[in-house]
């Protein structure tokens, strides 16, 4: 299958200006290359500061890479001008770890979902509403909640709303940046199931950024391990778990707490 997204030798360098002396340079992404096939999930794992979120921002066209190519549907986004990027951004949506801080607290749930359609000037008023309601249903939020403010939602419901909002514009790729980390374990499972369902019913493509190797292994077809801005390992999920090649992967694996449930139903005293 042709990849929907191809990243080639992507470099992102930040420079910190200092009062005295030359500016300090920091290499956040060091020649990163990989491909993402449509309808699959790719997980990017790594310690804090390994460059995961910088990579997400570059792919979502929120940061301009210093050098390298970013092929999306045959076009190289790295060379696009701002006006052209505006047309691309709706197709690559990003979901943040804390949805509460990315929503207007005074807006109703419906307003939040309709907003992207209004901004992009798509559909008439009535169609927008219909689309919003069908999306809310798809992510498991009931229509009678639509008029309530988003602040009344629980953490899991808010993350559902964030997913509904990201889906309004029919994105080709959904980037989930630590989208489950702030949630309770039982809620994580609910949202993970929602993602799996969206993928099997609508063929969504996910880029799943996390430091939770267990969840990455469960959801993703392939895993990329990053360390100090470089990709140190890239393989199918099962292979990464079975024989990790790089020290950073082994460290991440060692940090996964070992814990397994004895079989048997709950009712046995």
């Amino acid at each position: 299958m042709d990849p929907i997204l191809k990243v080639e030798n992507l470099v992102k360098r930040y420079s910190k200006r200092s009062l005295l002396g030359p500016p300090q340079e920091f290499l956040a992404l060091d020649s990163v290359s990989f491909a993402l096939s449509a309808g699959t999930t790719l997980a990017i794992v790594g310690e804090s500061g390994s460059g995961k979120s910088t990579l997400a921002s570059c792919i979502a066209c929120l940061e301009t890479p210093t050098s390298g190519n970013l092929w999306f549907e045959g076009a190289n986004l790295a060379h696009y001008a701002e006006s052209e990027l505006r047309k691309i951004r709706p197709q690559i949506q990003l979901i943040f770890p804390d949805p509460a801080s990315s929503m207007n607290p005074r807006w109703s749930i419906l307003e939040i979902v309709v907003e992207p359609l209004a901004v992009q000037g798509k559909l008439g008023r009535k169609e927008r509403m219909l689309r919003a309601f069908s999306l809310l249903e798809r992510v498991g939020l009931s229509a009678d909640m639509a008029e309530r403010p988003a602040t009344e939602l629980s953490g899991g419901q808010r993350q559902r709303l964030a997913i509904a909002r990201a889906l309004t514009l029919d994105p080709k790729i959904l980037i989930l940046d630590e989208a489950l980390s702030a949630l309770d374990c039982s809620v994580q499972a609910q949202i993970a199931n929602l993602l799996l369902e969206l993928q099997s019913s609508h063929g969504m493509t996910f880029l799943f950024i996390t430091h939770d190797l267990t969840m990455a292994a469960h959801l993703a077809d392939e895993i990329i391990v990053m360390s100090h801005g470089q990709i140190v390992e890239h393989a199918r999920s099962a292979a990464i778990l079975r024989n990790p090649n790089h020290e950073a992967t082994r460290q991440l694996l060692a940090a996964v707490p070992k814990f397994s449930l004895a079989p048997g139903p709950a009712t046995q005293p």
Binding site: A189, L196, L213, S237, A255, P257, F259, L261
Partner: protein, 327 residues
Amino acid sequence: MESFLEVQNLQVSYRSHEHRSRPVLSGVSFGLMPGEILGVLGESGSGKSTLAASILRLLPPNGHIGNGAVFFEGKNLLQAPSEALRNIRGGRVSLIFQEPSLALHPTIRVGEQVRRVLASHQSLSRNELSERTRNVFIQLFPQDTDRILRSYPHQLSGGQRQRALIAQAIACYPAIVIADEPTAALDPVTQLEILGVFRALREQLSLAMIFITHNPALLSGFADRILVLYAGQVAEWGPAESVLRSPKHPYTRALFESLPGISTEMEKSHKTLLPVIPGNSSPASLPRKGCSFEPRCSVRMDVCKEFEPVLVDLGKKHVVSCFKYKE
């Protein structure tokens, strides 16, 4: 062995804007043994942070302790005069908060922040204070001790900041450290490192710990006993090994089953739907009577709708609050 911190029938509620009072903890009882690590497991809204705060009476102004007692070294902390309580807080019992970047003062060097804790609890000379501070830092930062003493919080990494907070908590050699999600903001490798620090300190200082978390996997191999909270009540309390391996309460079991696992049979479960607990535990969705987990429970019975279960002793120090079990 006798428990030396005893929480009895603790009831805490919060007043909301409309003068309604919402119960957060209803009748929580447990004990802590000397040198024991008690893992308190609960999801958001289960009352786990309220439990930490009410032991030291550090509730926000709208929090109200309705009933109960917290016995420590022969005193009921809930009735102790505030002068006595001030000596206990940070001295005998200390608290570590979730967000290390918020708990440290941003414009005071971390060494100074630890020194001030010592100074407020013990009357020591300047030289003694500096030496004690340095000794505490040596325990947590064997390398680079002096550089870190002189650092400001923003110059430290997340893990180092958490270590600095731990230094503050253990400066006066307390008997108990209460840690509220101390590793939630850290990545897994740093998380593991901080758990190691706690384990080492427990050995060196014979500390007892109340370790509050929402992540059951963190407690495995770390906690001695586990207390599971659901909707402000004790669902289950027992030895860590048996709670983690064969949880008795339907909530605990369903929670553990919803975690994706890394195992040899991973390929079979890979990308399959996880078994989830239906519904949520928000205050609005809790039942008015009966067992608070009943609406979400897969093995509920008629009796669960009508009556509240009491704690049943299963032997081997394992208690569970469920009608499925009889003494």
